[in-house]
């Protein structure tokens, strides 16, 4: 995963460019005869397994979830395998209360804060990697890869330990630094500080992906571009804005898209930290859906919230998806 290539075709395409630049023109080797019927079917055949898997393993649960969202499904119905349709009652219940919209707002702000932090610091660290000497770069890379590779559940557990009220090393350090009121501080007591710990965890986990890939992308920027820029009298900053940034833009778009999805969907980090508490105040949409549906055994309502969650995510990412649709037009 050293170079991120999902998204627009130009996104994460540095590797392609690098490959294309040195490739000598091969004259008229472009010999594509009239496509036979078999050749015409080939792409569909190749895609068949992936499409089948998606339809069955994703489409089916989605449809099922959609159906459940129109049912009154509580332990009794679940246990006795009863189907009780109740129209749009579940949606009405969710949308009429104030909770849902508060959670939507919170999820959007939460995602925005995280993604901005991740992208800004990830980019800066990626650029730093490009500037470092070989040895220091290796050192920092090792640090990044270790953080990146930590399994989510293990990492969440470790953060709980770092921030533990008693004997947690963070409280000790803050106390030693002169902030004595933090000696026995309970980080999970308020919404703000619970979020602070969760955000730190998510940013710590996500930066390596951005930084390492961004560094890999910068290595593929052709030197000639900088040389040309400096001939034009551009300084370091100008070189950055006129060469580096445009070159990385598609990559940044694609990465931001992925981070938005990942952060928005983040589940174990938030749930394991404090189960959405205190007082439901750190529930983001996925947690909210889980607590209301599975935790509260109100499965139909949970399904309705899930469905709305998917809609919200679609709205948030629609800008990027539209861009992809447009760009894919003039490709190949």
């Amino acid at each position: 995963m050293s170079v991120q290539t999902e998204g627009t075709d130009t996104a994460g395409e540095p590797a392609v460019r690098k490959a294309r630049v040195p490739a000598p023109p091969r004259g008229d080797s472009r010999t594509t005869g009239a496509p036979s019927r078999r050749a015409a079917a080939a792409p569909y055949l190749l895609l068949l397994p992936a499409l089948l898997a998606t339809a069955v393993l994703l489409g089916w649960p989605l449809v099922k979830n959609g159906l459940l969202s129109f049912q009154n499904l509580n332990p009794r119905q679940l246990i006795q395998h009863l189907t009780e349709w109740n129209g749009v009652d579940n949606y009405q219940e969710v949308l009429s209360g104030g909770d849902f919209w508060r959670v939507v707002e919170r999820s959007v702000v939460f995602t925005a804060v995280n993604v901005v932090l991740i992208m800004v610091f990830g980019t800066l660290i990626g650029l730093l990697l490009a500037r470092l000497g070989a040895r220091m770069r290796l050192l920092l890379m090792i640090g990044l890869v270790l953080a990146w590779a930590m399994p989510v559940i293990a990492a969440t557990t470790v953060y709980q330990w770092l921030f533990a009220q008693r004997f947690g090393v963070v409280n000790w350090a803050l106390d030693k630094l002169g902030w004595h009121s933090m000696a026995d501080h309970n980080w999970l007591q308020t919404q703000f500080s619970t979020f602070a710990v969760i955000i730190l965890l998510l940013v710590w986990q996500s930066i390596p992906f951005v930084a390492i890939n961004l560094y890999a992308a910068t290595t593929t920027i052709p030197r000639e571009l900088y040389e040309a820029a400096s001939l034009d009298g551009a300084g370091a900053w100008k070189g950055f804005t006129s060469v580096t940034l445009p070159f990385l833009r598609p990559f940044l778009y694609a990465t931001t898209f992925l981070e938005v999805i990942w952060i928005f969907k983040a589940f174990p980090q938030i749930f394991a930290m404090n189960e959405g508490g205190p007082d439901h105040l750190t529930e983001t949409l996925p947690i909210y859906a889980y607590v209301e549906g599975v935790g509260n055994q109100h499965f139909g309502v949970g399904a309705a919230i899930s469905f709305l969650t998917i809609l919200v995510l679609l709205v948030i990412t629609s800008y990027y998806l539209r861009m992809v649709l447009k760009q894919e037009e003039d490709e190949l």
């Binding site: 995963m1 050293s2 170079v3 991120q4 290539t5 998204g7 395409e13 590797a15 392609v16 690098k18 490959a19 294309r20 490739a23 091969r26 080797s29 010999t31 190749l46 895609l47 992936a50 898997a53 393993l57 089916w60 649960p61 989605l62 979830n65 459940l68 730093l128 000497g133 220091m136 640090g143 990044l144 890869v145 953080a147 990146w148 590779a149 399994p151 559940i153 293990a154 990492a155 557990t157 470790v158 953060y159 330990w161 770092l162 533990a164 008693r166 004997f167 000790w172 390492i212 890999a216 290595t219 593929t220 999805i261 174990p268 599975v294 919230i305 899930s306 969650t309 998917i310 037009e329």
Partner: protein, 276 residues
């Protein structure tokens, strides 16, 4: 050159600070796991486990069915990664190389699939699996994990396939290879590092998955390691030594895999591209 001393100092210092920041939680996990309990619960942190002990690891491994869970986790993870790689490779080739109707729509479809919030669909999945009598089995886990990692695997691989110069493939075809042969002989070897790099994502996802296995498999013989890890927290309460030992054991395979594959993948990619 003049600025080098000053110009080197700050980046290097920043790099060291960042290194410490990123590594510390990982270090603290391992350090805690090796420390005797007295050193863990101490008013001033013990920074280095001087009298290291394996007692916490023993406690972690002693849990019921530990080795069954290891085998289950490895089975499910490896299978779903391999399945998703194979399925994705076919699709990625079509999406990156072939021109056909509906291509655009398909790419967006897979991007949408990448957005699926699995945790909130578990009741739907549970009911599907239950009504098909597949509970307490590794099969549904494997196929759903395959699907969880498929979209990103596919989209990433598509980038790798696109990165292999078309000219290579075409010249092979001029040399008399069929398109399939060209793929097998020319493109696939260049893709190997890409496949490895892509597999990392799948490994991490499948290895970590928790809510689905929790609800699908109540039979402990069909459970996986994340459940074991989570039980530590609730069962042992503030026994941070055992919890951290369990976390270390859980993280270790992935850490090793990353360090190993990450370097190979990066160098493999650049090599391949330059040779092209």
């Amino acid at each position: 050159m003049k600025r080098s001393l000053f110009g080197r100092f700050w980046p290097n210092a920043t790099a060291v600070v960042l290194f410490v920041g990123f590594v510390f939680p990982v270090y603290w996990m391992f350090a805690t796991a090796f420390k005797p309990t007295g050193d863990i619960i101490s008013e001033t942190p013990v920074w280095f486990p001087t009298d290291a002990t394996l007692e916490h690891f023993k406690k972690a491994v002693d849990a019921d069915h530990f080795w069954t869970l290891v085998v289950n986790s490895v089975t499910v993870t490896v299978l779903s990664v391999v399945f998703s790689l194979v399925i994705a490779l076919f699709a990625a080739f079509a999406l990156a190389r072939l021109r056909f109707k509906g291509r655009r729509g398909l790419i967006v479809t897979f991007m949408l699939a990448q957005m699926a919030p699995w945790e909130v669909m578990i009741i739907a999945i549970y009911l599907i699996v239950r009504d098909n009598d597949m509970l307490n089995s590794l099969v549904p886990l494997t196929v759903f994990y395959t699907m969880m990692v498929l979209p990103l695997t596919l989209l990433t691989l598509r980038g790798y396939v696109a990165a292999v110069p078309k000219e290579l493939e075409e010249s092979a075809m001029v040399d008399g290879c069929t398109r399939t042969q060209a793929f097998v002989k020319v493109i696939f070897p260049l893709l190997a590092p890409g496949l490895m790099a892509t597999s990392l994502f799948g490994f991490v996802t499948a290895w970590n998955e928790f809510p689905l296995v929790l609800i699908l498999n109540k039979d402990i013989e069909k459970q996986t390691l994340p459940l074991w890890l989570s039980q530590f927290q609730t069962a042992f309460g503030d026994d941070w030594g055992a919890t951290m030992a369990a976390s270390s054991l859980f993280a270790l395979p992935i850490l090793i895999l990353f360090i190993f594959l990450q370097r190979k993948a990066v160098s493999g990619l650049t090599d391949g591209a330059v040779k092209g």
